[in-house]
């Protein structure tokens, strides 16, 4: 494989709850490279969501480090290129990481267009016209341009999730994090969302996808991570993980889901 640029380097990441009695993450070490499509699989409660949410600091890690674009984002301060100590701007960091949730989390009091333009306007300072033009172009890409004026409640689950994906894309992130984006959907709507994700992967977007869609993980992912009990149990290409699983927990898991 050609040399790849590191985007996120995770070292011994831990997240404990309740004074350390719950170890949601108990030391995860991995590296995400530009252009990676990483599928994260594992049984419920294994810490997949916590891992994803730690990456953009929706959860504050208990220990370990996450180096993103050369900066350890688990620290409040870092030393910049000129040797100056500056405060970490979490909001700026999060702009660079788009996130898509299981339950869409569209803003119900705003139209689809409102949902799409809020962050570009308020965070990036884009003009209304520019933000709307861009939003409509993105909506067009997922076939929802004609629903721009609708409210989230008027859309189907699959449509909502497609909007949620392009809402995140409107901020032009460097990496997209997906937390079970199809788990809350009726079966007939899963395909339309996976198609959008697949297209995104083909365009070269770096993606980390927590998913139960093993077909998607195998077909679109270039790497698969298997987690259990807050630990990274096995990591490899889809062929390695699905066809030649080593860890007994993984073998057991695959026997249940495949």
């Amino acid at each position: 494989m050609a040399t790849r640029d590191s985007l996120i380097k995770v070292t011994d990441l831990k997240k404990h709850y309740n004074m350390g009695t719950i170890k949601a993450l108990d030391g995860i070490t991995t590296e995400i490279f530009k252009g990676d499509v990483m599928a994260v699989i594992g049984p419920s409660g294994s810490g997949k969501s916590t891992f994803l949410r730690s990456l953009n600091l929706l959860e504050e890690p208990t220990d370990g480090s996450i180096v993103f674009d050369g900066i350890d984002i688990t620290k409040k301060k870092y030393v910049d290129a000129n040797g100056k100590t500056v405060n970490l701007n979490i909001d700026l960091l999060r702009q660079k990481m788009g996130m898509v949730f299981q339950h869409f989390n569209l803003f119900p009091h705003m139209t689809i267009l409102g949902n799409m333009t809020l962050a570009p306007m308020k965070v990036k300072g884009m003009s209304k016209d520019e933000a709307e033009e861009k939003a409509l172009a993105l909506l067009d890409r997922v076939g929802l341009k004609d629903r721009a004026g609708a409210y989230p409640i008027q859309l189907s689950g699959g449509q909502k999730q497609r909007v949620a994906i392009v809402r995140a894309l409107a901020m032009e992130p460097e990496v997209m994090l997906f937390d079970e984006p199809t788990s809350a959907l009726d079966p007939e709507m899963v395909g339309e969302v996976l198609d959008v994700m697949k297209e995104l992967a083909q365009e070269g977007m770096t993606m980390v996808c927590v998913t139960h869609e093993m077909g998607f993980a195998r077909e679109v992912g270039n790497r698969v991570l298997f987690m259990a009990d807050g630990l990274l149990m096995e990591e490899g290409t889809p062929e390695q993980v699905f066809d030649h699983p080593q860890n007994p927990r993984l073998q057991d898991f695959l026997a249940k889901v495949l």
């Binding site: 953009n56 208990t62 620290k75 803003f107 308020k122």
Partner: protein, 261 residues
């Protein structure tokens, strides 16, 4: 059998009708101002209680800069003075009688701050009315704070996560995402607080605010009739409060229907 109500007493109240009209106006104005001030105080208190302001956070960090899980310093690091002050305010005001608060504001605070003795609309004495509004506003702020806080907390946490993951700051998230949704939950409660204040404001006649109760008192002083003016006041308060609560309940039902569209 002798009745304690004498119908013949009612016509004797007619010359004082003007006092009652003025009393109604004072009570309503007092309540409106109180709710507005109360809401502003409450919003501030609620945001303080929900804030993430921990100036001593650095004391609770370990050598790697991560938050300690346990111990005294971890608790010090989590200490939020804004939350502490707001909580103390709310608990103190909810655990003491309104009349004590009204007296402290009027005889205490406003003995230091001299108010001009202007008369508004020809009958509202500003130096009584204003302390009354301040005292009731401070009090209802404490009650509304919990309502606003609950309204904000009732919004699904996924909304904040989505907003923050898009790069919105905590303040932007509040302003553009959370509060517009929370207002819908909060408005009926604020309207109900308005009805409660209409009734509670009767207490301000003790510091000379010329509200409905003060009209009763004036009639009593002049004619030695007490029960009949009290019945008039009862009728007035009921006519102010009952339809208002029914109206609020009606709009509350309509609004919650809109949700299930």
């Amino acid at each position: 059998m002798d009745s304690f109500i004498k119908l013949s007493n009612f016509p004797k109240l007619l010359p004082y009708a003007q006092l009652f009209w003025q009393g109604i106006l004072v009570t309503v104005l007092l309540s409106v101002f109180t709710v507005v001030i109360g809401f502003c105080i409450a919003l501030l208190l609620a945001l303080m209680r929900l804030s993430n302001f921990c100036p001593l956070r650095f004391l609770g960090l370990d050598k790697n800069g991560h938050r300690k899980q346990r111990g005294f310093l971890a608790a010090v690091g989590r200490f939020n003075p804004l939350n502490f002050l707001a909580t103390a305010y709310v608990e103190i005001l909810r655990s003491t009688p309104v009349i004590v608060q009204v007296f402290i504001i009027y005889y205490g605070v406003f003995s230091l701050i001299k108010l001009p003795s202007v008369i508004l609309f020809g009958f509202i004495r500003f130096d009584r009315f204003f302390p009354g509004v301040v005292a009731l506003g401070l009090n209802s702020g404490a009650y509304l704070c919990e309502i606003i806080r609950a309204g904000i907390q009732s919004i699904d946490g996924g909304q904040t996560e989505a907003a923050r993951s898009l790069g919105l700051s905590q303040a932007q998230n509040m302003r553009y995402v959370i509060l517009p949704q929370a207002v819908k939950n909060i408005l009926p409660a604020i309207a109900n607080e308005f009805v409660i204040i209409i009734k509670e404001s009767a207490i301000t006649y003790t510091i000379g605010v010329q509200d409905i109760m003060s009209a009763v008192n004036a009639v009593k002083g002049a004619t030695f009739i007490i029960i009949e003016p009290l019945l008039v006041a009862t009728a007035i308060y009921f006519c102010l409060c009952f339809p208002t609560s029914k109206l609020i309940a009606y709009f509350e039902r309509r609004m919650s229907r809109g949700d299930k569209r």
